[in-house]
């Protein structure tokens, strides 16, 4: 850095105005803390947080940072489960929270959103006009973050496509400060070179996405259904059958493992069949079609091991079933375990039941700190991400917490390699860099590093993420 912290603050104030520069310790804490189970240290905090209003101000900040080689870490809403928003080299945390432009253009059949628009807000606003946001990440995450990671959350990939399929164009500010427009305003994405695709999924290391233009997708009609299974892996067999028998794929769905179900049932005093459950949103263009598709899935569930399966007509039962899944964040609390970390595994389809079985029993007879944790299995049906939540005592010291986190991440990598998975929900950078290198090899890793150097010669933007620093 060619400037001291006082100078940086002063210069940022002159660029965006005093109210939009935060240097107080409590501002800096909030832009550094993550959902990691251990606390941030003072050395993890950025020097300053800046809240630019638009791409022009972002451009000025990045030109300044590039000129003075000041690290800049982009912050959307901090919900990343892979911890890309945590500053690794102090410097500036650049928040996109003020980029709140939102416009639905039905004549062109697209909408535009500033990077800071929350997916929950966009879902609601699009829904008012009968459209659907094909990104269903948690409501507090931002459009900019989701598109940067190219995630659609829990939705079925094969039905909706990823953001890379649904984004028409982007406005991006490069680390050197230039503002570029990519993509199209017509309903066809460019054939051939389309720089939008370079930034979508680049996890923010090549530039800051400031505005997203996406197609308007008509709101599908849905019908909820449930299946109960003796063994969680039978849900994997159902998912295989769903694809093999070419039945209408669902919008999304969730599976809840045996132990997790038991905890949920006990917490809410529910009397559902013992074992695991699978809850699904069947979809169609009309309600009749959704119901027809739902009934096909109900029958398929029965054919493939479900002890019971039915359309969720009763609102109370529907609420209870989804409540069992939504209870996920409290798993472990029944044993006073408040520390937690989740992993993601996306097995290839033929091995889905095996992967489910292994995860369901992952902590049994295991040595190391993982053996001291409690694990709870859940996941998505259709998009086939399995998650396993590890709960452990919150009063473990920081070093022990870090060790268990490392063990859990190593386990995730081991399983992903074994079952030929990728990071389907959350992306790669930074903590999955070792996994990326093992899966794709050093040549692939060097390619993305060279691309980074091409766009960002001083490595100012999200420094440390591509290097795998957490």
């Amino acid at each position: 850095m060619n400037k001291n912290v006082g100078e940086i603050i002063e210069d940022l104030v002159s660029l965006v105005g005093k109210p939009h520069v935060g240097s107080d310790i409590f501002e800096r804490i909030n832009y550094a803390d993550t959902s990691l189970p251990y606390d941030v240290e003072k050395t993890d905090l950025p020097d300053v947080v800046v809240h630019p209003a638009d791409s022009r101000e972002i451009s000025e900040i990045l030109k300044y940072a590039n000129q003075n080689e000041i690290p800049v870490t982009t912050y959307g809403s901090g919900t990343s489960l892979i911890f890309g928003t945590k500053p690794k080299h102090k410097g500036i945390s650049l928040s996109t929270e003020r980029l709140q432009h939102f416009k639905i253009d039905e004549h062109h059949q697209w909408f535009e959103a500033g990077a800071g628009v929350k997916t929950g807000y966009a879902t609601t606003e699009l829904g008012k006009l009968g459209y659907f946001l094909p990104i269903q990440t948690q409501a507090g995450s931002t459009i900019g973050g989701a598109v940067s990671v190219n995630t659609l959350g829990h939705l079925t990939d094969n039905v909706f496509g990823r953001p890379v399929n649904n984004v028409l164009g982007l406005e991006v500010v490069l680390p050197t400060g230039e503002i570029i427009e990519t993509g199209s305003k017509c309903l066809r994405r460019p054939a051939g070179w389309d720089l939008a695709r370079t930034f979508i999924g680049a996890e923010g290391v090549l530039g800051i996405i400031t505005r997203v233009r996406m197609i308007l997708m008509p709101m599908p009609q849905t019908v909820d259904l449930v299946g109960f299974y003796n063994k969680t892996e039978e849900i994997g067999q159902f998912v295989q059958a769903m694809y093999e028998k070419r039945v209408p794929l669902p919008m999304d769905g969730e599976l809840v493992g045996e132990k997790a179900c038991q905890v949920g049932y006990e917490a809410y005093g529910l009397n559902f069949p013992k074992g695991a459950l699978c809850v699904i949103k069947a979809m169609g263009y009309t309600q009749e079609e959704a119901l027809r598709n739902g009934n096909i899935l109900v029958e398929l569930m029965k054919e493939v091991g479900a002890t019971q399966s039915y359309i969720l007509e009763d609102e109370k039962i529907k609420h209870q079933i989804w409540g069992v899944r939504e209870n996920a964040m409290r798993w472990g609390q029944e044993k006073v375990l408040k520390g937690y970390l989740a992993i993601e595994l996306n097995p290839v389809l033929p091995r889905l039941p095996d992967a489910i079985h292994e995860l369901e029993h992952i902590t049994e007879n295991r040595s190391g700190l993982i053996g001291e944790t409690e694990s709870y299995l859940y996941g998505h049906v259709g998009s086939d991400s399995l998650h396993c939540l590890f709960a452990f005592p919150f009063d473990w010291d920081r070093e022990k917490m870090k060790r268990v986190v490392d063990e859990i991440w190593n386990l995730e990598m081991e399983l992903q390699l074994k079952y030929e998975g990728v990071g389907g929900d959350w992306g790669w950078l930074p903590y999955r860099v070792p996994f990326y290198r093992k899966k794709y090899g050093e040549v692939s890793y060097q390619i993305i590093k060279k691309m980074k150097a091409l766009f960002d010669p001083h490595n100012i933007l999200n420094r440390g993420n591509i290097e795998g620093e957490v």
């Binding site: 005093k18 109210p19 939009h20 935060g22 107080d24 310790i25 409590f26 501002e27 804490i29 909030n30 832009y31 803390d33 993550t34 959902s35 606390d39 941030v40 003072k42 809240h51 912050y75 809403s77 901090g78 919900t79 928040s95 929270e97 003020r98 709140q100 800071g116 929350k118 929950g120 948690q138 409501a139 507090g140 939504e326 964040m329 409290r330 609390q333 408040k338 937690y340 919150f394």
Partner: protein, 391 residues
């Protein structure tokens, strides 16, 4: 009397609760004051408090963050539904108490006089206490000291006693009670319920005020109490000493019972489209959602429609938690923005009248309608005003 908590108690309580946060950020998505910074929502507030305790660091910016909460409780519902069910408002109020009592960092500068006024004059604005019942002059409303056959005590609250706009609520409610032949009285000795003192982190002052009011309740024979102030309703039913022996009604509950008994009749038709704003301390925090709607729907001709956010999901007017008496510092969301957003939801329903049942909401929503220049399109009224029209 409830014992005041020691610093150790507060720190232990906060530590125990805050460690449970799994940092999902979902609370921020529903917070009315969180815009746009992550540090300003419940997530940022609780993380700030957590690290303040961990690093023994307490400063004015922490105070600004912690006092920006309107205590509307929407985050609590969210956390209960999909996360770890943290008692986020209790955490905020405990942190305020810690900052004010132990760390000399609270309240907000404008609130200092408010607390002093509550202590010295019994009301937040510092009006002379002998003017508390002036609104009732010429209305022939008996004082408790004179009303020997009193069946019900009407606890007016500070806003309806002193604020010219909110006094209308007291006057209208009194007229309605008289029309129903309810034998009620008001007390000259009434002081602030203390609810807002507690919200601002002053439990000692809350205790002092609650003792004065509790003595009035005792002296009047613990008759049923009605109030038009949801903040008083909440604190009487949830926090007052002897709360379990008090029979407390918000007027929307009480008027429904009068209508059920046909002691009150609404005979005039009012052909209006109206919408109802749930005051946070009556609805989400007080648990009363149906009675106000039932009351409104009993007015002949009324067409009640809901706003986008209603019942448990209702949005805040921005005035709770002590925000009535502070202007958030630069960089924080101004209260006017919060109330304007709520009024915009009401405008979207194409209603002619925005009804509410709280003097604070009434004041802030009225101001927002004026700020938006929508006085000709939307009137803000307390439900009592509509009932008067329907008598």
């Amino acid at each position: 009397m409830e014992e005041l908590r020691s610093e150790t108690d507060m720190v232990q309580y906060l530590g125990k609760e805050l460690v449970s946060c799994m940092k999902c950020h979902l609370c921020n998505t529903v917070c009315p004051v969180c815009d746009p910074r992550v540090s300003q929502g419940p997530y940022g507030m609780n993380r700030s408090i957590y690290y303040a305790l961990k690093w023994e660091s307490f400063n004015e910016h922490l105070r600004d963050i912690v006092y920006s909460c309107s205590t509307c409780g929407k985050c609590v519902e969210k956390c209960k539904a999909v996360s770890r069910a943290l008692p986020l408002i209790d955490i905020i109020e405990t942190a305020r108490e810690l900052l004010l009592v132990e760390k000399m960092q609270g309240p907000m500068p404008e609130q200092t006089n408010v607390l002093k006024n509550m202590h010295v004059r019994g009301n937040p604005w510092g009006y002379p206490s002998h003017e508390r019942t002036q609104w009732a002059q010429d209305l022939d409303i008996p004082l408790t000291s004179e009303a020997h056959d009193m069946e019900v005590l009407y606890f007016v609250g500070c806003a309806s006693s002193y604020d010219p706009q909110a006094q209308k609520i007291a006057k209208n409610l009194s007229r309605i009670l008289k029309a129903a032949n309810v034998k009620f009285g008001i007390s000259k000795e009434e002081v602030c319920s203390g609810s807002e003192a507690r919200r601002m982190g002053e439990p000692g002052l809350f205790q002092y005020l609650s003792e004065i009011n509790s003595n009035i309740f005792d002296e009047t024979g613990n008759k049923p109490i009605i109030t038009g102030d949801p903040h008083s309703y909440y604190t009487f039913t949830r926090e007052y000493p002897g709360k379990d022996h008090l029979e407390i009604y918000h007027y929307t509950q009480f008027l429904n019972t009068l209508l059920d008994k046909e002691q009150l009749k609404l005979s005039s038709r009012i052909e209006k489209r109206v919408t109802y704003h749930d005051p946070c301390y009556l609805g989400r925090r007080g648990g009363i959602f149906d009675e106000p709607r039932r009351l409104i729907n009993r007015i002949p001709g009324i067409d009640l429609v809901e706003m986008e956010h209603h019942h448990e999901d209702s949005d805040c007017c921005g005035m709770g938690g002590g925000r009535m008496w502070m202007e958030p510092p630069e960089g924080f969301l101004p209260s006017q923005m919060i109330s304007k957003r709520r009024v915009e939801q009401a405008i979207a329903t194409t209603s002619e009248i925005l009804l509410t049942a709280c003097p604070f909401c009434n004041i802030s929503l009225n101001d927002a309608v004026k700020d938006l220049g929508k006085e000709d399109d939307l009137k803000v009224m307390d439900i009592t005003e509509l009932i008067i029209m329907a008598l």
